[in-house]
C-alpha cells in the first residue's frame, strides 16, 4: 500500500521539478519550487529521517522559498538575461544530463548488497554522549568539527552578503519592510511569534533525544523574527551594532571555548568529559540555535541599505 504512495510521491516530485525548469514565468516557477520543497519533506519522512524532513521543510522549503521570492521581486524586469541556448545546445545538454542520471542510477543500483553502515558504531557511542537522538550525537559529538566549520560557513556567507552593501551604508540597517503593511500581516505578526518561539525552543530542547535540533529550531526562530520585521513591528538591527554581532558570534565562540576545554578536561579537542557531556552539548546547542536564528534572518534580510547612526 505504502508503495503506491511512494510512487505517487516520486512522480509528484519529478513532475514538479520538470515544471520548475520549463516554466517561463519566474514567479510561478519559484512558487512551484516551494511546493517541491514541501513534497521533499514527505519524501524524507518515507526515508525514515524525521530530522532531515524538518530541516528540509524549514530551511530548504521555507528559507530558500522566501529568499527566492524576495530575489524575484527585486530582479523582476531588471535582471539582464545571459547567453540564450540554441535548440541543439539544449538537446545536447539534455542528453548529457540524462546520461549522468543513468550512470548515477546504475551506481545506486549496484551498491554493495550488505549495505555498509555506521549505525552500530553510532549506537555504541551514544551512551558516552548521553544523547538519545543519534543524528544530534553525530552532529555535535562524533563529527563536531563539521558542525563547527559549517557554522563558520554560514557566518562567512553573511559577512560576504554584508560586504555587498555600498561603502556609505556598510554597517547600517538592511531594508526588510517594503511599502505599506497590510493589516492582516500585522495581525498575524502579533499572534504567531509567541507560538513560534515556544515551538522553536521545544524543538531545540527535544532535539537531544528525539527528532529536532539546532538548525531546525534556529530556522523557526529566524522565521518569527523575519515575520516581525516584515510587519514593521520591530526595525531590523544595525549590522555593525554590538548586540547583533555578539549574537552571531556567540554560538561558535562558546562552541570553541568548550572544544578547547576538551584539551584540559577530556582527551582532546572537541571531546566532552563523560559526566558533563549532555549539559555541555545542550549549552552549545542553545547558543548555536540563537546564532543560527540571527544568521539566517540576516541572510534573508540582505546587505545594509541605510547608513549606520555612528
Amino acid at each position: 500500500m505504502m508503495l503506491l504512495f511512494d510512487i505517487a510521491l516520486v512522480a509528484g516530485l519529478l513532475t514538479l521539478a520538470v515544471h520548475v525548469v520549463r516554466e517561463p514565468d519566474e514567479r510561478s516557477a519559484i512558487i512551484a519550487f516551494l511546493a517541491f520543497g514541501l513534497l521533499l519533506g514527505l519524501a524524507w519522512i518515507r526515508l525514515a529521517a524525521p530530522d532531515v524532513a524538518l530541516t528540509e521543510i524549514a530551511i530548504g522549503g521555507g528559507g530558500t522559498g522566501i529568499l527566492l521570492l524576495r530575489a524575484e521581486a527585486a530582479v523582476r524586469g531588471r535582471g539582464k538575461h545571459e547567453e540564450s541556448v540554441t535548440r541543439p545546445g539544449k538537446l545536447a545538454i539534455a542528453v548529457g544530463c540524462a546520461a549522468i542520471s543513468a550512470g548515477l542510477g546504475l551506481a545506486v543500483l549496484s551498491f554493495a548488497s550488505p549495505a555498509p553502515t555506521l549505525a552500530p558504531a553510532a549506537a555504541e557511542g551514544l551512551s558516552a554522549t548521553g544523547l538519545g537522538n543519534p543524528v544530534t550525537a553525530v552532529l555535535l559529538a562524533y563529527r563536531a568539527l563539521d558542525t563547527l566549520l559549517e557554522k563558520v560557513v554560514v557566518l562567512l556567507a553573511l559577512i560576504g552578503v554584508w560586504s555587498l552593501a555600498p561603502d556609505a551604508a556598510w554597517g547600517g540597517v538592511p531594508a526588510v519592510r517594503s511599502g505599506e503593511i497590510p493589516q492582516p500581516l500585522a495581525y498575524l505578526a502579533r499572534i504567531l511569534p509567541p507560538f513560534g518561539v515556544v515551538i522553536g525552543v521545544y524543538m531545540f530542547w527535544v532535539g537531544a533525544d528525539a527528532p529536532g535540533g539546532t538548525f531546525q529550531a534556529g530556522t523557526v526562530l529566524a522565521a518569527m523574527w523575519l515575520l516581525v520585521m516584515l510587519a514593521g513591528l520591530r526595525s531590523p538591527p544595525e549590522t555593525a551594532g554590538l548586540p547583533l554581532r555578539l549574537a552571531l558570534a556567540g554560538g561558535p565562540i562558546l562552541f570553541l571555548a568548550i572544544a578547547f576545554l576538551g584539551f584540559a578536561f577530556a582527551d582532546g579537542f572537541l571531546a566532552y568529559p563523560k559526566a558533563l557531556a549532555k549539559p555541555l552539548i545542550l549549552a552549545i546547542e542553545a547558543a548555536l540555535t540563537l546564532s543560527v536564528a540571527a544568521a539566517l534572518a540576516m541572510l534573508v534580510a540582505g546587505p545594509a541599505r541605510r547608513a549606520p547612526t555612528r
Binding site: 541556448v85 545538454i93 548529457g96 549522468i100 550512470g103
Partner: protein, 543 residues
Amino acid sequence: MSAPAFLLAAVPLFPLSLALCCLSNWFRARALALLVLAPLPALAAAILVPKGGFAIFPPPFRLTLVLDEPGAILLAGAALLWSAAGAYAASLMARDPGRQRFTVWWFLTLTGSLGLFVVGDVVNFYLLFTLASLAAYGLIIHEQSPPAHRAGVIYVALALAAEALLLIALVMLAAGHPDANPLIRSVVMDLAASPMRDGIVVLFILGFALKMGLVPLHVWLPLAHPAAPTPASAVLSGVVVKAGVIGLIRFLPFEAGAPFWGSVLIGVGVITAYYGVLVGVTQKRAKTILAYSTVSQMGLLAVLLGVGLANADPEAAHLAAYYAVHHTLVKGALFLGVGILAVTGGRRFRLVFLLMGVLALSLGGMPLTSGALAKLATKPLLGYGWLAGAMTLAGAGSTLLMLHLLLILRHYAAEDAATSPLLGQFMPWLVVTAASLVIPWSLYPAVAGEPAASLVTPDALWKVGWPLLLGAGAMLLVQRWPGRLGMIPEGDIVVLAQTGQPLMRSLSNRIGEIDVHLRRWPAAGLGLIALAILLGGALMLRA
C-alpha cells in the same frame, strides 16, 4: 681551495659580485670605470691556472669549474677582448644617460660568457648559457631605437628556442645518470651508450647552431650585432657567439665520433661560410658586413668541428679553439676600429685605415697575420680532398668580403680633419690589434706542434697567399656591378618569416574565438557534463 682553484672561481664570481654590488645606487653610478677590471681574473686564470685545474663548491651551490686546453685558449682571447671593449665602452658611454643600465647588463653578460668556458657541470652550464643569452638582450636594445627593439625581440625569441632545445638535450643526456647534477665529461663519456644518442646529438647541434648563427638559424645575428653599441657588438660578435663553439666542443662525443652527424655539420658549415659571404657582399652598413663575416667564420668553425666529429679525433677541438681565438681578436678589433674610424679625420684617418686594412686582410688569411697562422694550423686537419679546396675558396670569399668592407669604410672619415679619437677608445683598440697578432703567434707552436719559423718558408706563404689574390680578383669582378648594394635586406630570411606574421595572427584570432565560445555559460556547462560522461564511461568500461 688552492690558489688556482680560487682564481678559477673568481672567473665567473668576480663579475657576478660586481653585478650584485650594482644594486646600490652609489656603486652603480661609478661602476662604468670597473668594466675594464671585471675580466682580468679570467685573463689571469687562463694564463696561470694549470690545465685540468678543478674547483668544486659545497652542496647548496653544486657548482664545479674545470679549465682544459680549448677552454683556456678561448678564455684568454675572450677575457682580453672583454676588458679592451670594457675600456672602450667606459670612455664611449661616459655621458650616455642609460650607462647604469648598460653596466649592469654588461656585467651579467660578461659573467655568463666567461663562466661558460670554465663551467664543468651540466646544470650550471645551462644556467650560464641562459644568463649570457638573456643578459645580451639588454645590450642589444640599449639604444632604444625601433630597429634595435625589433632585433631584440627576434634575438630573444630565437634565444629562448635555443634554450628549450638545449634543455631537452641536457635532460635526455643526464636522464640515466644517478647524480642529479653530473659532470659534463662523465655524462658525455656514456653518451655513446645511451639509446637516445642520435636525438641528443641532433638537439645539441640545433641548439648550438642557433647560438653560433649557422644558416638558416642565423637570422638574428645580422640584426642584433649591428644594433648594439660598438663595444657591445664587438663583444657579442667576438665572444658571446663562441658560447655555441664551446658548447659543441664540450658536448659532442669526439672520442666515440659520429660520422653521419659529423658530415651534416660539415655540410651546414660549408653552406654557412658561402652564404655569409654572398649576402655580406650586398650589404651597405659596415657593422652588418662584419656580422655576416661572423656568420661565415662560424661556418668555417662548424666545418672544423664536423671534421673532428666525423674522424673521431679530439684534436680538432684544440684547433677549432685556436681558430676561434683568432676570430675573436680580429673581429673584436675590426668592430672597435669601425667605431674609431667614424670619429677620426685627416692624416690620422689614413694611419687607422691602414691598420684596419691589415686586420681585415688577416681575417682573409694574409701571410704573417693570425689568419694565416689559423689557416695553416687547420690545414692538416682538413686533409687534401674537396673539403680543403672548399675551405680555401671560403678563405678567398672572406677576403672578398673584407675588401668590400674596406671600400665601404673609405668614406667613413669624419668631415673636419682635426677630430681625433679619444685616447680611452684608441688605446684599447690598439691593444686588441696587437694581441690579435701576438697571441696566435705565441700559441702556434703549442697548437700546431711545429716551430714558428716554419711559417716564413716560401711555400707556406704561397699556400696562404694565392686565396688572397683570388679574393682580390673576385673583388675587381664584383666591383663593376654596383647595383648589388642593398639588394638583400638585413636579416634576409627573417623578412620571409615576417610574411608569416598574418598567418600567426589569424591562428591566434581563431584561438581567441574558441576561447570566447568556450567561456559562455552553456558551453562550459556542456563541457563539464561531457567530461563527467567521458571520465565516468572510461573508468566504468575499462576498470
